[in-house]
Structures are given as structure tokens and as C-alpha cells.
Amino acid sequence: MSWWIYLILILTTTGAVAWVFRFAGQQLTENRPFYRDMPFVIAFGYVFGGVVLVGAMIYYLQSTDKNGVPAAGVIFFRWAVQGFVGFAIAAYLFRLFGRYVGTAGTRKLFGSMPLTAAFGVLVIIIYAAVSIFAGAIAPHGQEEILAGSNIVPGGNPLLGGNPEFPLGTDQIGRDIYSRLIYGAQNTVGIAFATTCLAFFVGGSLGFLASILGGWIDQLLSRAVDVLMAIPALIFALLLMTIASVWSNQLGIDRTIFMILIIAMIDSTRVYRLSRAVGQNIVVMDYIEAAKLRGEGMGYLIFKEILPNALAPLLAEFGLRFCFVFLTIASLSFLGVGIQPPLADWGTMVKDLSQFINFAAFAPNVATAPLLAAGAIALLTVAVNFVVDWMLHKSSGLKD
């Protein structure tokens, strides 16, 4: 039988079970509205979800061990599930901890926090701690070239690992574990500085444009339109090329130029948001009352507008941080970003990328480039969870 006969069989069986499920629900609960008004597709969804869950469990538990190495797909799936469950438990414990420790304010905050947000906060705290204390945590220096090159992650000598280097070494024998830790410092630190700069510039100009209106608004907005019309990554590459010449001539670190360039490109997005948010706020009567009182521009922006625009701006800050972070990683991957020998996650992915080809028969080897990529992905997901939670909170407060 070919695969589509299986598919049809599964779908029809699921459909039949869904019908029985809904019917049984209606009979057993004496027509409660939940079952009574349930459309068939919803019942189908419930049963299908159950089928997928069971399928995933069978896939997870299958034993395809050949010489102690399970099939590549299975082991990645297992890692994903283990990571998922592990982080969920960690987040749950962290939230529990937050609910009983700290001031009344933070305890209340943790009380209403969803698990996803607790996960996000936990991950962000860990990243922050790692990047601040990188020098103390890392067993080796980021530029240090050690004994063997291309040691496989996992620390199992049978599979080409070395217990001394739990995550292995790269092609020229630098410890990946140490470089990951230093990478947090470099990549996250630079991304944070860049995002702050982008917000300061974009935010103040956006609010200014929304208050003043007229030709200043037109001038700024059209300039931003022009900048936004150019594809961001291409534009950044172009400017970085020019900057590399300047950095050689002037003797200024190329990283400074990179921060300025990415901040400029991203501040256009922040400008648009803060101008739009600001325009909704400046028409309020309390702004008019403040203007009629004779208040200056600084008071209007920082005391009247900013507190009311904080929620959308914070949410944007989280998203923008991720984008900046990914841009830096992409630029480094393309070779114009953070320069070796400084450790950087984007560069690490690039350097080790050819090992991805080993995924099918030697999963441990293929893990090497995935470690840095995973670090990027984890932070991005965590920041987005926190941002979602903030958005939810701010929208809930309004009504």
C-alpha cells in the first residue's frame, strides 16, 4: 500500500472516532453546551490532536539502536522533547520560586505569569548572568587554541569526543563551550547596545514628529521612508563595506561602525511605531491641558506621552532586540560583522556549518554548528514569550 492509502485510512478513522467522541460526550453529560454546540471539525481536531500525540510518543520510544547509536531523526526528536519538558519544569519551578520569594509586587507579578513568560524570563536571566560573568565561567579563553581540533561534542571517547571538552572543539582546536559563553557576551552585549541606541534615536524623533507635525514630520517621515525602501540586510552589507575602509583609515574598531549602522537602520522601524503611537496620544485632552498650561516639549514627551506609550514600545523593544541580534549574527556569518578571533555565535555557525552534512549518520558531529544556532534560537523564543506576555498585560490594563 502506498502512503496516501494510509493517510485516507487514518483520516477516516479519526473522523469516525471524532463523531463517536462528540456523540458520547452529548449522551454522557446530558447535552452540556460544550458538547451540544461542538462543530464536527472541532471534535475532529481534538481526536486528531490525540492521534498526533500518541504517534509522537511511539516515535519517541522506538528503539532503533544499532551499535549504541539511534537513528539520526529519532535522537534529534528526543533532544527536542527532553529540552521542551526540561525547560517547562525549570520554568514551573522558577515561577513557584518567584511566587514565594521577593517583595509583594514581584510575588503578585509571578502569580499572574503564564508558564511561557516564566520560561522567557528565566532564559533571559541565565543569558544575562552568563554574558556578565563570562570570564569567570568559561574554562578556557575564547582565542585559546588547545590540543586537538575537531573533537566531537558529547564527551564520549568512543564517538570521537573528549571528556575534557564536553561540547568539543572547532577546526583549529578552540573549546566550543568557552566560545559559546564568550559569544553570549559579544553578540548579546552588542545587540543590546544597538537596540538601546535605535530606540533612543527612533523614539525621540518619532514623538517629536507626532507633537510638532507639519514640515518637520514630513521631512523625518519621508527620510525614513527612503531608508526603509532599501532592503535592510543588503543596505547593512553595503554600509559595512564602506565602513571597513573607514575603520582602516581612521583606526576605529569596525564593531563601532556596525553598531551605528544597524542602529540607524532599525531606528527607522522604531520611529514609525513611536510616531504612530504618539499620534494617538497627542490628540488626548490631557495633552491639550498640558499644552495650555504652557509645558515644554521635554515634559510633554517624557512625562505625558512616554508613560502611555511604554507598553507598545517595550513589546517592540523585545522584537527589535531579536531582529538586531539576528542581523548581527547574519553579518558575522557573511564575514563582515564581529571579527575573529572574537567569539560570536553567527561566525561559529558559519565556521562549523559543513558538519551539518553529517546529521544523517553521525548526529553527534552535526551537533557542533547547531549549538550556536540553538543558543540564538533559544534567546529569540524567550524574548518573544516575554514580549507576548507584556503585550497581553498592557492590553488587559486598558479596559
Binding site: E288, R293, G294
Partner: protein, 548 residues
């Protein structure tokens, strides 16, 4: 025996806030016979709209019917399945919302929305339904009934839209229509037209109706019976005439008494006294479209000038000219005999301090992220330079002046206050500048009657204590009667008539003033019938305004 149409017994509704279900309606009984109109009245938060929606077996998001029976024509709508309800709603029960402008889909023509219910329910073909719609528009006395249905909602005025919505509710000839404050957002001259049209058509088709409103005079015209609600409980129910002449409960009596507040009138202004504020031949425009023409009036010390007019008459624009937000194109504004710079940016701090403003919507007038102490404290600090404990003491004084307990409210956010309290904070912020003159822009129109009366009394009290002058912008003539010393009537950007209050409420009037005065509903249940008899259906409301 007339047929029982709607039977509600022990209706309980709960609403969810902070993950807790709180009761909104605690056990309401309601009966409605075919062709009968029941008026539901109460203040905001009384649960009247919630009960109205529950009569359709429907609750808003975050609410649930937690008990009781809603039986419509023998079917319990609480336990009925979604499919059964879908068959009833629109066809046998229809709903007319407060804001027709927000309830019509702006992307479709009126007629396409009108024909949707009959065609969806399979009652009529679209073409037949269109003909029927034109007939309904004619009966509701909409202008140009043959073509008005083929316009989009934004091409039709507010009062016409409200009538088009009533026609839409009628499209399936339902047994019951629920009117949820259908005239609250309308001007008096428009309101009277809509009221006459609704009453007419409900009688013609013998439709039962639940008429929800907070305006007693309106409900007196529309309803056969009145039910009074307070915080989810029934206060009393009686026939309209009995209810108006002989209310039983104290709460109902207090509602009836609200309109009686009237401050004693002051002696006439001395000849030759310098007015606090005077507008001299002021003309203004938004861009190229002119809105004020040659406006000329004076406000004297310690007096209240009510500026009356319908929406679009330019009364708020006149206030914007005085504050300097909209510099006039011609004319000038004098303050204590001195000409003020026209643009507020060119005025000195002292000039800005002397004229303060209180806004209609207290929600948008107070920064939702500032605490009460900061909102009132900022003008105190800004103008008098007080800081620290001295500033706090002054803020507490001001809170006492507006009859709010300082220790309880000083650290709250505006969102934690009721509508009336927010409006009081707005007053305190204006007082904090220690002005001579305050512009009150529709300050009571968003408030319940009892609360509004409290605000009016407070303003009158403050005027007596501090010698303030008010420019009181309003469209509500009852408010004018209650608080003003002089009245300025505006229409289409011109001053139609002005003078002391006593003269203004006594004939002879300017025809427009006359129309305004006669359009204000009175508590007499025969008022609308009599007025229609005297004036004729074509000589009320907007139709009459247009003839002017």
C-alpha cells in the same frame, strides 16, 4: 387575553473580572405581551443593557447567564442551542444599538445590510426585500426613501442612520425589538424625529419592544410600562402614568427629583463693568472651511454663561478660540479689558493660568498613567512653584474642596475612579491654577443624572466661594436652566440669540431657540403626542431646522 410573548424569571447574569465571576444582574423578572413597550431605566452599571441583551439569550463576552429562565414564545433561550437561536435572532427578535454609526458596516450600502436578514432567513427574495425596505424608509419619514438605501452609512446623518437601523430591525417584522439607548447620542431636534418615527412604526406593526434608556422624559413618551433597575436589582415596575405621578420607592423619587436643581439667579450685571472675557467679532476656520462668523459675547466676573447649540454649531470652537488653540482669523479676545495674544504659545504663563478648561470626557482628560496627586500637583508646582510637603498640602486642600477624601484618593490612578470622581479631579486640576475663568465643555453630558447634578452643585458652590466665572458649553437645556446666568444660543457658527436666563426661557423667542426649547422631552407622557398635534409631523426636528 393578549398573548404572553416574553417571560423572564429570576434572571441572573455574572461578569468576569480578574478571573472572578461577579454578579451583574441578580434575579430579574420581566413579562412582555405582544405589542407592548416596556421601558427599562437606570444609571450606568444598573444592568439594563445586559438584561436587554439577555432577552435575546445573548450575553457580551466575559459575561454568562448563571441562572433563570428567558422564555420567548415558549422557547427557553438560555438552554436553546446555537442553531435554534440563530433561527430566532433577526427574524423574531431584533436589536437596535445606541450608536448606529458604529453598528453599520461602513463598507456596504444601507440597503444591502437591510436585505441581509430577510434573505438569510429565507423570508424574502432580495428584490422584494428592497421594495419593502423602501416602504419602511417612507414610513420612517426618511428623506428621499427611494434612493437613500443605496448610500453608504457615512453619507447619511446620525438621526437618519438611527432610523435606517430601526427599519433594518423591522425588515423581518419581528415580534420583539430591543432598543438600546437609540437616541442618547443625538441632538434634541434630531432625537424628537427619531422618537416620533420609532413610536409610529412600533404601533403600526404591533411590535413589542424593550426600550432601554437613562432619560426619564424619553421613556415617558415611548413606554406603556416602566421598570426601574439599580445595580442589577429591580427597584419597581408600574404603568408609565402611575410611575411618573406616584413613584413608590425612594430611589425612583430621587431620579424624578433630579431635574429640579436650580440655583437662584443673580442680579443683572452693572452697566459699564469690564467683563472677564469678551469675544469681539471673532471669526474662525479650520483650514479653509469657516466655522465661526462674527461671534460676539461677554462673560462677567462671578457669572455663568451657558453657550447652547447642537453639534456643529461652533460652541466648542468658540472655546478653542478663547484658549488660543485655534487662533481666530478675525476679531480679538479680551481678558479683563486687555487683548490676549491669539495663539496660546504666545501667551504668558500668567495669562495661561487665568483661563482653565474642564473637558467632557474625563477619561481622555486625565493621563491614565499619572496618579491623582501628580495630576493635581503638576499645575500647583508649575504655577505657584510649591514643592514637597507644601505642594502635597495644597493638593489635599483641593481634594477637600471637590469633596473627595485626600488620604484615600491621592495615590490612585484615574482608572480606579468612577466617572463622576474623574470629572471632579478634572475640576480640581483647573482649580489648582487658581484661575478667574473656567471653560466647562459639556462637563456633565457623559455622566448619569444624579452624578451630573452633584457636579453642577459643586461648580455652583465653587463659584460662590471663589468668585469664578464659567463659560458653560452644553446642548442640554435642563443643565442650562439649572446653572446659567446668561445664555448664548448658537447655530451654524453664529450667535442666534443671547441674554439673561430669565428672558431666554420666556417668549418671544427667536424661532430656532423656540424649536430647541420645544424639542426637549418633558416628563409628561402626552408631551410628544401633543407636540405632534400642534406642529405636525413635518414640522419637528431637523426638517424644521432645514426650513429655517
Amino acid at each position: 387575553m393578549t398573548q404572553q410573548l416574553l417571560k423572564i424569571r429570576g434572571l441572573k447574569i455574572e461578569g468576569k473580572s480578574d478571573e472572578i465571576w461577579n454578579p451583574i444582574v441578580n434575579g430579574i423578572d420581566l413579562d412582555l405581551k405582544k405589542g407592548e413597550v416596556l421601558g427599562l431605566i437606570g444609571e450606568s452599571g444598573a444592568g439594563k443593557s445586559t438584561v436587554g441583551l439577555a432577552a435575546m439569550g445573548f450575553t457580551r463576552d466575559g459575561c454568562r447567564i448563571s441562572g433563570g429562565l428567558v422564555e420567548f414564545a415558549g422557547i427557553d433561550l438560555v438552554t436553546a442551542s446555537a442553531a435554534v437561536k440563530r433561527g430566532m435572532l433577526g427574524k423574531r427578535i431584533a436589536y437596535v444599538a445606541q450608536s448606529a454609526a458604529a453598528s453599520f458596516n461602513p463598507a456596504h450600502r444601507l440597503m444591502d445590510q437591510h436585505t441581509e436578514a430577510p434573505t438569510q432567513h429565507g423570508l424574502q427574495l432580495k428584490a422584494d426585500s428592497e421594495l419593502d425596505g423602501i416602504e419602511l424608509y417612507r414610513r420612517l419619514r426618511l428623506p428621499d426613501p427611494d434612493n437613500i438605501g443605496f448610500r453608504y452609512p457615512h453619507q447619511v446623518s446620525g438621526g437618519q442612520l438611527q432610523r435606517a437601523m430601526t427599519a433594518m430591525a423591522m425588515s423581518c417584522r419581528p415580534d420583539l425589538i430591543i432598543f438600546d439607548e437609540p437616541t442618547t447620542a443625538l441632538d434634541v431636534t434630531t432625537q424628537i424625529e427619531v422618537l416620533a418615527a420609532i413610536r409610529d412604526i412600533v404601533e403600526q406593526f404591533d411590535t413589542a419592544a424593550i426600550y432601554i434608556t437613562h432619560d426619564l422624559a424619553v421613556v415617558a413618551q415611548m413606554a406603556d410600562r416602566i421598570k426601574v433597575l439599580l445595580r442589577g436589582d429591580e427597584v419597581e415596575e408600574a404603568d408609565t402614568r402611575n410611575m411618573l405621578t406616584d413613584p413608590k420607592e425612594d430611589y425612583t423619587k430621587s431620579l424624578w427629583a433630579v431635574r429640579s436643581f436650580q440655583r437662584p439667579s443673580k442680579p443683572a450685571v452693572l452697566k459699564g463693568a469690564t467683563p472677564i472675557v469678551s469675544l469681539k467679532n471673532v471669526s474662525a476656520a479650520y483650514g479653509k472651511s469657516p466655522v465661526l462668523f462674527d461671534v460676539d459675547f461677554e462673560i462677567h466676573a462671578g457669572r455663568t454663561v451657558a453657550v447652547v447649540g447642537e453639534s456643529g454649531s461652533g460652541k466648542s470652537t468658540a472655546a478653542r478660540c478663547i484658549t488660543g488653540l485655534l487662533p481666530p482669523k478675525q476679531g480679538h479676545i479680551e481678558f479683563n479689558g486687555e487683548a490676549l495674544p491669539l495663539d496660546y504659545r504666545k501667551r504668558s504663563k500668567e495669562q495661561l493660568r487665568q483661563a482653565q478648561m474642564i473637558y467632557q470626557m474625563a477619561d481622555t482628560a486625565l493621563n491614565p498613567r499619572s496618579r491623582i496627586g501628580d495630576i493635581i500637583g503638576r499645575p500647583v508646582q508649575f504655577y505657584s512653584g510649591l514643592t514637597g510637603p507644601a505642594k502635597r498640602k495644597r493638593v489635599e486642600e483641593l481634594l477637600v474642596q471637590i469633596e473627595m477624601e485626600p488620604s484615600q484618593y491621592i495615590d490612585r490612578l484615574p482608572g480606579e475612579l468612577s466617572g463622576g470622581q474623574k470629572q471632579r479631579i478634572g475640576i480640581a486640576r483647573a482649580l489648582a491654577a487658581e484661575p478667574q475663568f473656567i471653560i466647562c465643555d459639556e462637563v456633565t453630558s457623559a455622566l448619569d443624572q444624579l452624578v451630573a447634578e452633584g457636579i453642577l452643585k459643586l461648580l455652583a458652590q465653587l463659584q460662590d466661594d471663589l468668585g469664578l466665572s464659567y463659560m458653560f458649553i452644553t446642548h442640554d437645556l435642563a443643565t442650562v436652566r439649572a446653572i446659567s446666568d446668561e445664555v448664548v444660543v448658537m447655530k451654524d457658527g453664529r450667535v442666534v440669540e443671547q441674554g439673561p436666563k430669565a428672558e431666554m426661557f420666556r417668549p418671544p423667542h427667536h424661532p430656532y431657540t423656540d424649536l430647541l426649547l420645544s424639542s426637549v422631552p418633558e416628563m409628561d407622557p402626552d408631551w410628544l403626542t401633543n407636540l405632534l398635534k400642534i406642529r405636525g409631523v413635518d414640522n419637528i426636528g431637523d426638517a424644521a431646522v432645514q426650513k429655517m
